[in-house]
Amino acid sequence: MDAMTVSSKTTEAAVDCRGVTMRFVTARGVTTALQDISIAVPRGSFLTLLGPSGCGKSTLLRVVADLLHPTSGTVTVLGEKPEVARKNREIGFVFQDAALLPWRTAIQNVMLPLEVGGGAAHRGNRSAEELLALVGLAGWEDAFPHELSGGMRQRVAIARALICGPKLLLMDEPFGALDEITRDRLNEELLDVWASTGVTVLFVTHSIYEAAFLGQQVLLLAARPGRVRELVTVDLPSPRRLPVRETVEFVKLAGYLRTVLETC
């Protein structure tokens, strides 16, 4: 498959994958999680990764974050090796589980990245208080995770991912465990955060509506083996607000994504 380069020629891509293949040895033999993935994500863009379970979308995110090393192929993050980008704190990661440390307050959780791995040298422009306010949690600084709702915990996790001022934000189904109303609100707020920070976002989801609403582009992946199916550009006006989902364009797009997904 040809490299699906969507960046303009003048700017260097935030993420550039060339022929990335990832094989795992499992109890049932060798699984090909990713097969020959080539994709370039322009800086400052918002890409959603959509596909059935087993299509390797989380694996791809972990390869970009240097949590996994590909079997073959090369990955470049912000013009460097993923390892360099990780060590320079240019990557923020948000997991499906907020993964907050239960013995730390909200603000202590946000500051965790500054306390380990030489993070103090990579302090971003915004303070922990400012970031908590950015994600709508002003006044909740001293609350412990068990005092927060699922949505609030995920907001803390987003603030934590932004504390070092990353240029790339990787999100692995961050709102997958939340109720629909909370998820909708967080989707809208995430677009605000994206607009105000200028960060590049790679967002994994299994929700068609979430993928279409958030992404400037939707990368559709097929399963077994995980491979690129199609890169769909979303032509919806921005800044996007939730009512855009009732427009004809959005419904058509979602319908199209569903049709492609059914063949993945």
Binding site: R62, P102, H146, E147
Partner: protein, 281 residues
């Protein structure tokens, strides 16, 4: 998704809310007192049953004493009991601290270096399978007649539960928290101190609750061999002189000591682990 705790000022509470709060407070206090009083009642009932059984069935005093005779021992021979309680308590405390400290350090080595665990876990398991009554004489031969063998036995009996629990507590960490630490390029020791230690605290306390009582058992078993002070020595003397009242009183004292340790650990746990207690509620 749990609702966030609202911080409402007292002035803002309506009368209806106040009534609801009062009802709730009354219910809580009732439950708290029930939890405190029921065990006392149960102990009293068992005591009365025991007393009635001994008197009604005409059991000889040297076979089983009445609870009154046991209580009398505490009154008439109080000083002698205290003199024998002190060495056992000391041995149990030192053994408890020593055994648990070594267990935590070895668990740390196990978690930080998998090879150490692969080499030494089977050894620890083997040591644990030796019955304490068998290792006690060996330790007395090795360490003499003083406090050392009692402390050693108490420490050995405390060691294994804490080793197993702490190894699990250090390991059983949210995998996404570990991935987060890798994204943050944290070192092994940073992961250990920032994540694993706090994560293992609830496991540590459940081990400490177990070992609080077993440390006393270890000290008593140690005193069975070659000593003439301590609860263990008292038990042996009372048995050979058919002084069943003293025997039972010694047993009660030993178990009171273990309960005291257990209580101290429980209080420490609620003071230290704020987050876990709150989550369990």
């Amino acid at each position: 998704m749990s609702a966030p705790v609202e911080k409402v000022s007292v002035a803002a509470i309506s009368e209806a809310d106040q009534a609801a709060l009062a009802v709730d407070a009354a219910r809580r206090s009732r439950l708290k007192w029930r939890k405190r009083l029921l065990p006392v009642l149960a102990v009293l009932c068992i005591g009365i049953l025991w007393w009635q059984a001994v008197t009604q069935l005409g059991v000889k005093p040297f076979i089983a004493p009445s609870p009154l005779a046991v209580a009398q021992v505490f009154v008439t021979r109080f000083h002698m009991m205290l003199v024998n309680l002190a060495p056992t308590a000391l041995e149990a405390v030192v053994g408890f601290v020593l055994g648990n400290t070594i267990a935590v350090l070895i668990a740390t080595a196990f978690v930080q270096r998998k090879v150490v665990e692969e080499a030494f876990y089977p050894v620890a398991l083997m040591v644990n399978t030796i019955p304490i009554v068998a290792s006690a004489p060996i330790l007395v031969l090795l360490l003499g007649n003083g406090i050392a063998p009692k402390v050693a036995i108490s420490a050995i009996i405390c060691f294994f539960p804490t080793l197993v629990n702490m190894t699990r507590g250090f390991r059983d960490v949210n995998p996404q928290a570990l991935e987060l630490m890798r994204v943050l390029s944290a070192s092994d020791w940073e992961v250990f101190f920032k994540v694993r230690v706090k994560n293992a605290l609830p496991f540590l306390f459940s081990a400490l609750r177990i070992t609080a009582s077993t440390s006393v058992i270890g000290a008593i078993v140690g005193e069975w061999i070659g000593t003439n002070v301590g609860i263990g020595a008292l038990i042996i003397q009372a048995t050979y002189s058919f002084d069943s009242a003293l025997l039972y009183a010694s047993v009660v004292m030993g178990s009171a000591l273990a309960l005291l340790f257990f209580g101290i650990i429980s209080v420490a746990e609620t003071r230290i682990i704020k987050w876990n207690v709150a989550q369990a509620r």
